[in-house]
């Protein structure tokens, strides 16, 4: 191909309007006569609602109406959970506005509808709600005891228990034998703190009910799923709902949800017959948008004295929060397949119990289940190395799948198509200067330097491209995992690409243009990518789980292939040749063995005019394709962090961060690089900065960006990134997915590095985030209990 767009560092098409302020975020939308919403939220984590008096609020200046739970209960069904992981799964009904009881602080109890946002907020204070406080359960291990119930009506805090056992599944040996016969047994408990996705754009919804259809603009990752779910839970025909996700200011899984606020805005618009807008404040976002992680991981790892792992037993408690989010219950299950990571474990057992607490609900957050799993196993590999006095890299090498062993079926039952852990690791070690840093570490220990050096290692793989539909079905996920695309050839020969996967910062417009430019031999500039509107992109399953390119991009390529096939028929007709003799390359259709050729643009115009087409040929070249892959894709990588720990203050700083990621074939290296950087920032944030903290009453203490520490530019290091390229064999492009890699790998790299710096001082573990006070406390505790210094 002459264009060779794939692999080229194209600057993004989507930047032009974003750098000039011509953005179309939902909150920028204003419609004539639009009303504004403000939510009355529960200050209590758990309470009976004994009365809601809205009289004063209704007569407040500018207020048009006030909705309570009782007002809308008949119209709005329970908000959806699409992943009943077991047939017995328990879940409380989740009303958009609470009716009798609230189960977390921040739950909506009434909605003010007013002529201005300020008037709506003024009236919030005037709603008089009487609560009868109930006991709260906040801690996961307490919740498991069922002594205090988050939902008394449910009779238990346990939503579901899900088990995978390699002995039963036939993918490995029984775990009991491995643990009982272990030469070395490592047992650890890790805490995955609650994180808040913290997309920069607060959630916002605008609803216009004035047409025959209800139009919903929302800051969502999932316009197609949202449309379906609004239709199902509001009992209105799907065809009467149009969802548009315009510019969306980040998601990270946090906008992979059907929110009460979206449903309420639809209800408010229906009640008033006027356009309505709701935009949350950041405090509301932190309190009431879904959180992520929140697991207790209990692990047992058995190994030989040589450091060969013989078995892994994982027992999880997963915090669902007060209600089941859209895919919340399945998040730990995604992790279940990743605890064995890149290693050849002969025996494996996983058991997870999903529990309710009186906290904000949890759901997907960048990586969704896989960062938790990777953290746990990478911490365990370091613990094993420490136990045996081996270099942590050596332990990994002794257990990982060798390059020549692919494809490899894992103990968790997945088939890894390709990978080369040796190559990525070798490259990372070289860039990092591993040996020199180890030597410096020894010097600092010997001189009792107050600033100690640690080296953090994390090797990982992840399952990307959420699909295949049949696998998701086997896991009881309610939907498929396919993606849809349409390639339209305009009369001028310009191309419109419609994709079901919509962007919230990932650069689809640029990458998809590159794909199509190569495939159809048209200039990059002549491709327009359309997405994020269910009226334009009629089918789709949206954006999450690094599925955009590996599933959505493949659908685009498949549709483009069909365009070529259709155009060949016209080309043969116009050039009076046999279809079998038509060849397509670089945007031109030629007759084999002749100098006769015609360009795609000429065929497009001829097809449009339709004056001279083959008999029965429909006069368009447009093509649809739906792609459902045969397997996930498995990017991998090796991340190395040099960490300095000030033993006098507990301060942790990242001196050097090197990562080598293998994401298969890269369409746009610029975009890939950017995704890695952003992912690293989020993973490092879990290791060092972020945690959603509740007080004993269940009030979110980290309720603003003053307390919830999203790292800024001075808090993060310069990253050294590189790639190896082992193509995936499960899609025609060989791409693997990159969105979550940085997040998954960096958290254990950092924490392993922190521990490596202070392990010789007697510190065995530090809970995340490794804040100065936690690190300092761990050092002090080690001194008290007979640490070295």
């Amino acid at each position: 191909m002459t264009t060779a767009e794939v692999g080229r560092a194209r600057l993004r098409k989507e930047d032009a309007h974003l750098i000039t302020g011509r953005s179309r975020y939902t909150d920028n939308i204003t419609l004539p006569g639009m009303l504004h919403l403000a939510m009355v939220r529960s200050p209590f984590a758990h309470a009976k609602i004994t009365s809601v008096d809205v009289a004063a609020a209704k007569s407040s200046p500018g207020v048009v109406a006030v909705l309570t739970g009782a007002d809308v209960a008949a119209e709005q069904g329970s908000l959806p959970n699409a992943w009943p992981i077991t047939p017995e799964q328990k879940a409380p009904a989740h009303p958009a506005i609470a009716v009798d009881e609230v189960a977390f602080a921040g739950e909506v109890v009434a909605c003010i509808i007013a002529r201005s946002a300020a008037a709506a907020r003024d009236a919030v204070e005037l709603v008089d709600v009487n609560y009868e406080e109930l006991p709260v359960v906040l801690d996961l291990e307490e919740a498991a005891k069922d002594q205090v119930l988050a939902h008394p009506g449910l009779g238990t805090n346990k939503s579901a228990t899900w088990v995978f056992d390699s002995g039963d599944a036939g993918t490995g040996k029984p775990i009991r034998e491995a643990l009982e016969g272990a030469e070395v047994l490592i047992e650890r408990t890790f805490y995955q703190q609650r994180l808040i996705p913290s997309f920069m754009e607060p959630r916002s919804t605008v609803v216009d009910p004035t047409g025959e259809q209800i139009t919903v603009w929302s800051a969502t990752q999932i316009p197609h799923i949202l449309r379906l779910m609004l239709a199902l839970t509001l009992a209105i025909p799907e065809s009467k709902v149009r969802v548009i996700a315009p510019d969306v200011g980040g998601g990270f899984g946090g906008k992979l949800q059907v929110t009460p606020e979206e449903a309420i805005t639809v209800l408010a618009a229906r009640h008033t017959g006027r356009p309505c807008k709701y935009t949350e404040t950041r405090s509301e976002s932190l309190m009431a948008a879904h959180h992520g992680r929140a697991q207790v991981q209990r692990l047992k790892l058995s190994a030989t004295k040589e450091g060969i792992v013989t078995g892994l037993d994982v027992n999880l408690l997963a915090d669902m929060g007060a209600y089941l989010g859209l895919v919340a219950s399945g998040i730990p299950i995604l992790g279940a397949f990743m605890y064995n990571s890149i290693y050849k474990f002969p025996a494996y057992r996983f058991e997870c119990t999903n529990l309710f607490t009186n906290k904000a609900w949890t759901d997907a957050y960048r990586g969704a289940g896989r960062p938790e799993a990777t953290f746990a196993i990478e911490r365990m590999m370091d613990e094993l190395a420490a136990e045996l006095g081996l270099d942590p890299l050596q332990v990994r090498e002794r257990n990982w799948i060798k390059h020549e062993e692919f494809p490899f079926t894992t103990v968790a039952g997945l088939e890894y198509d390709s990978g080369n852990y040796e190559a990525a690791t070798a490259k990372a070690l070289e860039l990092f200067g591993y040996d020199a840093l180890r030597a410096e570490q020894v010097r600092r220990r010997e001189t009792n330097d107050p600033v100690q050096l640690g080296i953090g290692i994390s090797t990982f793989t992840e399952m990307c491209g959420l699909a295949p539909s049949r696998v998701l079905g086997a896991l009881n996920y309610a939907a498929g995992g396919w993606e849809h695309a349409q390639v339209r050839v305009l009369p001028t020969g310009n191309i419109e690409v419609v994709t079901g996967s919509s962007s919230h910062g990932q650069g689809h417009e640029t990458a998809w243009s590159q794909l199509v430019a190569d495939k159809l031999g048209v200039p990059f500039e002549n491709v327009e990518v359309l997405h994020g509107d269910t009226q334009i992109s009629q089918r789709g399953l949206d954006t999450y789980g690094s599925r955009s390119l590996t599933v959505g991009g493949m659908a685009v390529l498949a549709a483009a292939d069909k365009v070529i096939e259709k155009a060949k028929v016209v080309a043969a007709h116009l050039m009076e040749a046999s279809e079998d003799d038509i060849e397509f390359a670089d945007g031109k259709f030629s007759v084999k063995g002749t100098d006769q050729s015609t360009a795609l643009g000429e065929i497009a115009l001829a097809t449009f005019s339709a004056h001279n087409l083959p008999d029965g040929f429909e006069p368009n070249l447009d093509s649809d394709a739906t792609f459902d892959p045969q397997n996930f894709s498995f990017p991998h990588g090796t991340h190395l962090a040099a960490i300095e720990v000030d033993t006098e203050t507990g301060r942790v700083s990242i001196r050097k961060y090197v990562c080598v990621d293998d994401v298969g074939v890269v369409v746009n290296p610029l975009i890939v690089e950017g995704q890695v950087h952003g992912g690293l920032a989020q993973g490092i944030a879990q290791a060092l900065y972020e945690e959603a903290v509740y007080d004993d009453a269940g009030t979110l203490v980290t309720g603003s960006f003053v307390d919830y520490l999203v790292p800024g530019a001075p808090d993060l290091p310069h990253y050294t990134t590189a790639r190896t390229e082992t193509p995936s064999t499960t899609n025609q492009l060989g791409a693997k997915g990159v969105g979550e890699a940085g997040t998954i790998a960096s958290t254990p790299a950092i924490v392993n590095g922190v521990l490596d710096a202070v392990r010789h001082l007697g510190v065995k573990d530090i809970r995340m985030p490794c804040s100065p006070s936690r690190v300092w406390a761990a050092l002090e505790e080690a001194k008290m209990t007979g640490g070295v210094r």
Binding site: L11, D15, G674, H677, V706
Partner: protein, 170 residues
Amino acid sequence: MASSTMITIEVDNVSYTDDVEPRLLLVQYLRERLGKTGTLIGCDTTNCGACTVHLDGVSVKSCTMFAVQADGHRVTTIEGLARDGKLAPMQRAFHECHALQCGFCTPGMIMQSASLLDENPHPSEQEIRDGLEGNLCRCTGYQNIVAAVQAVAEGTVSSDSDETETAGVA
């Protein structure tokens, strides 16, 4: 309802005279009254910096000022940064260095970055990072934002607004 006050503000080289409530924030005035929706609101505690604009040439967070406080002053928003159809160097640099992804923090980041270089035309990497402390980004990990500021400081941004290809950043 609160009383209102008459104010006159020059925004992006146009003078506006308006009656506003004293409690109206500058960012609300810009967005809701003038339609300058490029200036965005990401938090309610002045931490995120998405609302950063220039007041008499100096960066301020427009969610931390009342519109009445800007009376008699000159405001530049992201919409006013490009001149005569040409992008400002910092806008070009953000594009060329892939210093944005979702774009939500971008207007505030660009305004702050431009102001940063006005104060210190040749900052070190650490000075750039410190100068961006009040602007949060969740997508980029900051590395390419820092690179964009460096590119402007070093004069390595392309001199026109043509779509150019980069060999990669950082």
